[in-house]
């Protein structure tokens, strides 16, 4: 069979057409979905940004970081403090507020960028010590730093309002902002991965020592990947905060649990695959909502089951384990959904069905 490859120009226009098509579907959804479904739809995009950014650090560079929730939290607080009106801040800070924080104000876009930059700066600072470690130690240290910011946020009353959290954050995260940022994240990270810089990141993941011997400054590359990943995590934090409308430094909102949720998404989708990260995020968001019924009392073949809190995550874990048994490398493995791959897979399918027809 002659391998037919699409020209880059065709692929470019196909991609544009695909994006417009998705945009149209989103427009339809935005118009006809009820509020609840729309919120889940937006959550998919927010989780998508989280997953794609963590995938850059964990899946592509091979730095097993568990500090993602820390970056998300930094982004969420920075952005929310900027979008909240001074009056609103004065109202919710019961223990007083730093006057300069009270005065801060910016529009949603600027606030989101600021959230990303704040997270990136935080990543840059903790990257120096954390990236000197490797493997499990790196994972523990990054998890620790994420906890440090969370506990700091819990105690810095005049800045973060402590355990009371921030309330009445405007719900700016509509379909267009969330999916727009998802698109921006994917475009940026995908072009990064396909550049020679991205090849170097993958080489570090494959074999650190050989990469070093190739003249790659391993530490510098890992730090860059860490900082870029954190920037988009900060962005997702801002989107998340403006989707939740209330944030606080509790364990369950932006604590280690969130890191592990995002980790589940990328491992489920396939560590190292951007497409996989988005698929993982979508599955996780939908499943997690759909399984909400499990925590309510329900009857199962006539047996009355009382609502048990925590059943959702238990079920998700079980599903996750089953997926890992059958698809050890996740749904996508390291493959991406590209036009070339689509053609390859459809050919494979066609030849498979032909064989079946003959046999």
């Amino acid at each position: 069979m002659v391998e037919k490859k699409l020209s880059n120009k065709t692929k470019f226009w196909l991609t544009i057409a695909f994006i417009i098509f998705i945009g149209f579907l989103l427009w339809l959804a935005d118009r006809y979905f009820d509020d609840y479904k729309l919120r889940v739809l937006r959550l998919i995009a927010i989780y998508g940004v989280m997953a794609v950014s963590l995938n850059l650090i964990n899946g592509i560079t091979g730095v097993f970081s568990l500090g993602h929730a820390g970056f998300i939290l930094v982004g969420a607080y920075t952005a929310s403090l900027l979008t909240l009106s001074p009056e609103q801040k004065a109202m919710s800070y019961l223990f007083g507020i730093q006057p300069w924080i009270e005065k801060l104000h910016a529009d949603f876009f600027t606030a989101t960028i600021a959230g990303g930059i704040a997270a990136a700066i935080f990543a840059f600072l903790i990257g120096w010590p954390v990236l000197r470690l490797s493997g499990d130690y790196l994972a523990i240290a990054s998890l620790g730093f994420a906890e440090v910011v969370r506990i700091w946020a819990n105690n810095a009353l005049s800045i973060t309002n402590g355990p009371l959290g921030l309330k009445a954050i405007p719900e700016y995260s509509n379909t267009w902002w969330t999916y727009g940022w998802l698109l921006a994240t994917v475009v940026f990270i995908a072009s990064l991965v396909n550049s020679s810089y991205g090849r170097a990141l993958k080489a570090i993941r494959e074999n650190r020592i050989a990469a070093e011997a190739m003249g790659i400054n391993v530490f510098k590359h890992q730090l860059m990947s860490f900082v870029i990943g954190a920037f988009f995590a900060g962005v997702s934090g801002s989107l998340y905060a403006h989707w939740l409308t209330t944030i606080d430094p509790r364990l369950t909102t932006m604590g280690p649990m969130l890191t592990f949720y995002v980790l589940i998404m990328i491992v489920l989708g396939g560590l190292g695959s951007i497409t996989g990260a988005i698929i993982g995020a979508a599955i996780f968001a939908i499943l997690f909502e759909w399984l909400r019924d499990l925590e309510q009392p329900f009857s199962f073949f006539g047996i009355q089951v009382p609502g048990i809190p925590g059943m959702r995550i238990l079920t998700v874990s079980a599903i996750f384990i089953i997926v890992m048994i059958f698809w050890q490398r996740g749904i996508m493995g390291r493959e991406e959904l590209t036009w070339d791959n689509l053609i390859k897979w459809s050919r494979k399918l066609a030849s498979l069905s032909r064989k079946r027809g003959e046999g």
Binding site: S196, R199, A200, K202, A203, R205, E206, N207, I209, A210, A211, E212, A213, M214, G215, I216, N217, V218, G272, R334
Partner: protein
């Protein structure tokens, strides 16, 4: 060997390397003149790989000096040393299994900006190893052992090194491939690259090299022109399996 006027690419002076408390290299001195193939032979654990790792900056030296074209490169970071023009074919090949053959090759040229030169070198490598050209879009990990070794050598060559160091390129290869690898090493050398070759296959290494050093538990016990070492009674007995 070290006649006056001969240009040294690499010079090691009284190098000592420790792994924790273990004294792995006990004061060795090696000279690599331009355009030659120099070989280090010795048994397992003699310190051959450690020597190469120290030159390329992956392992730190306790004392002693390493000069590359007269510049002191002792304990410089590995990526800086690579940029100066030293490439290594690591032991056990260490290719990037999840990257395609093409991506592996491009990693070798990571610090180069001259697109034309890179293209030329790719063509040159395809002339050395035509098989790699057929496998360009295949994952490195799916290649056979021999092909992976060729890829590892090619990847190192892609940086257009002034000194190419090879750690056991014949390890684990079928005899016919060993021959092929040694032939290619000679060919690369003839086209102007200086080579420092580490081998357990003493006979093959001495046959194609100009000068050899025999390493034993961190010391150089013998050195001389390779043709003389091949005739040396001690070398014959210990490394060539002849008595």
């Amino acid at each position: 060997m070290s006649e006056a006027g001969e240009k040294l690419v690499l010079e090691i002076k009284d190098l000592h390397v420790y792994y924790g408390a273990i004294h792995a290299i006990k004061g060795i001195s090696i000279k690599v003149p331009q355009g030659k193939i120099i070989t280090l032979i010795g048994a397992n654990g003699a310190g051959k790989t450690t020597t190469l790792s120290t030159i390329s900056g992956l392992v730190k030296a306790r004392s002693g000096k390493i000069f590359f074209n007269g510049v002191d490169i002792t304990n410089k970071p590995a990526h800086a040393i690579n940029r100066m023009g030293i490439a290594m074919v690591p032991e056990g090949r260490r290719i990037f299994p999840g990257l395609t053959v093409y991506e592996n090759l491009m990693m070798g040229a990571y610090n180069r900006k001259d697109k034309e030169g890179i293209k030329e070198d790719l063509e040159w490598i395809f002339s050395l190893f035509p098989r790699l050209k057929e496998r360009l879009s295949q994952m490195g990990g799916t290649l056979s052992g021999g092909e992976q070794q060729m890829l590892a050598i090619s990847r190192a060559l892609m940086s257009r090194p002034r000194l190419l160091m090879m750690d056991e390129p014949s390890l684990g290869l079928a005899p016919i491939l060993v021959e092929e690898v040694f032939e290619v090493i000679q060919k690369i050398n003839k086209e102007g690259t200086t080579i420092l070759l580490v081998e357990q296959n003493a006979y093959g290494a001495l046959r194609i090299s100009d000068y050899g050093y025999v390493l034993e538990t961190g010391n150089i016990v013998l050195e001389g022109p390779s043709s003389e070492l091949l005739e040396n009674e001690m070398v014959k007995k210990a490394y060539l399996g002849m008595s």
